[in-house]
Symmetry: C2
Subunit: 297 residues, 2 copies
């Protein structure tokens, strides 16, 4: 496998994800320049201080100009705006990717605005955490986690390979999917679980019991600590797929309710045993999300 190479990478939004990308790139041996841009000056300063980026550009456009690889690490609605803003200054051979949790609208806007739409490759690294900002960034955030890359029919194959090499170099397992496959799969394994966690906390908060809730509840609802604006963006941007998966969810719950109501012990236990085996057999990603923050490398 070829190594990922670039002379200058622009990290737009050097927070938890963007900042960790900078740290992980350095740890992987990347020797080019790392330019960052953050909307808030304190974020940019902190990112420089922690070694996530070498320098903070004074503007979005300045960060992108002269970079041969650009990665957008802001919330979905901001990525949509930034793609339009950077389009006039992106070099023709510059590869652009992002970390947005939904892909349809991002890919559509990118292909609509960029002069070389084939140079955009949607990415979704399945890594994160409830802490935010460059303070929470760490070089091992991506280790052994899945990353979905979503080329379309017009994406330049060399740009896809370059983006895949980028994530591989950060230690991720790369999966190539269509935009539609991605949005459906993540609606089910990420957006739906977040929705369930928010609704579950609301229920316990409304009807009581939080004072005796323990580890199981804590783990199940940890993702309900996610940023409300970020998750509103994601749910609405992926509305169609989320609604379809919510329908499948309600059917699943109704089947389960009927099993419990029937008192049919054997069928209920078979259902639970099948789910339990599937969960046990699943090669769980290493949980490096609760460890201590490593020092910046």
């Amino acid at each position: 496998m070829h190594r990922f190479e670039a002379d200058q990478i622009a990290i737009i939004g050097p927070g938890l994800l963007g900042g960790s990308i900078g740290l992980a790139l350095r740890q992987s041996g990347y020797r080019g320049r790392l330019v960052g841009f953050a909307r808030r000056a304190t974020t940019a300063e902190q990112a420089v201080k922690r070694g996530c980026i070498d320098t903070a550009a004074p503007s979005l456009v300045e960060a992108v100009r002269g970079s041969d690889f650009v990665i957008l690490c802001t919330p979905v609605s901001v990525i949509l705006q930034q793609l339009a803003d950077i389009a006039p200054v992106v070099g023709d051979r510059t590869v652009i990717t992002d970390v947005g949790s939904t892909k349809r609208s991002i890919v559509a806007i990118a292909e609509q605005h960029l002069r070389e739409p084939g140079q955009f490759v949607g990415s979704h690294p399945m890594a994160g955490g409830s802490d935010t900002g460059p303070e929470a960034a760490r070089a091992n955030l991506f280790d052994h986690k899945p990353c979905i890359v979503t080329p379309t029919g017009i994406t330049d194959p060399e740009a896809v390979r370059r983006v895949e090499r980028f994530w591989l170099q950060l230690g991720m397992h790369v999966h190539r999917m269509s935009v539609n496959q991605h949005d459906d799969a993540v609606a089910r394994i990420s957006h739906l679980p977040h929705a369930l966690a928010f609704v579950l906390v609301d229920l316990a908060h409304r009807y009581g019991g939080l004072e005796v809730a323990s580890t199981g509840f804590s783990q199940t609802t940890r993702i309900a600590k996610g940023d409300p604006k970020l998750w509103t963006d994601i749910f609405l941007d992926n509305r169609d797929h989320l609604l379809r998966n919510l329908t499948a969810w309600s059917q699943g719950i109704e089947e389960f309710r009927r099993l419990v109501a029937s008192g049919d012990r054997q069928t209920l236990q078979s259902f639970i045993a099948a789910a339990q085996s599937a969960r046990v057999a699943w090669p769980e990603p290493e949980n490096n999300g609760n460890g201590k923050l490593p020092e910046p490398t």
Copy 2:
């Protein structure tokens, strides 16, 4: 506060919970005898070897005879049977408690069978883990976790105090609730989350996406690794409360679905923000569940 004292404690079922009780008792300075009984000889041997109990009794009745404190640490359906089995040999001043996840049927059976029904006090320590057996036992399993104690109108107040002292000595936060309050609260904050985790794994397994699922999915569904027989027992034994909470759940999901479908960004974000604040404000129990197993003390 008075210290918990007993000359001989019988731990029936020295697995993860029962074994951890033995280790925690010793660590807390308990100096009396610890007698155990396990249905499988290898479990009993392992429990002795790890120091969870001093000796393994040859039978359930032998373990209980001569003990002035008995704790039943087996699955709900087994506890029901064991309460009937031990009734003839329990000393009149022996206090009996259990760790069952549902309380109505256990308390009913205890009060029906025991010669001194006032000496039975239902308990539910909110601690556990997906690993089972005395190999997984550890002295800090109960530290800072909630424990619910469920006396009824006929429970001897001194027995209640003794059981509460027992859990306090193991480091737990004790909450006194009626049987009904307990069964409703745990249906919501424990049984419902387990049901959701099983259904979520089933959905992802059936429709795909597990290959790109990551940390969030892993945490949300960790409790789906629970023992199928144990959870079938719990769901059916607490059927009424679980069904009522499943109905409230479906209403909550329907409200959420409507919010997403409406595209009303402001109301959706307010809902998420309220749940997120409640989760952040919740004094999460210390997660000592993923740490290394301490050596037996």
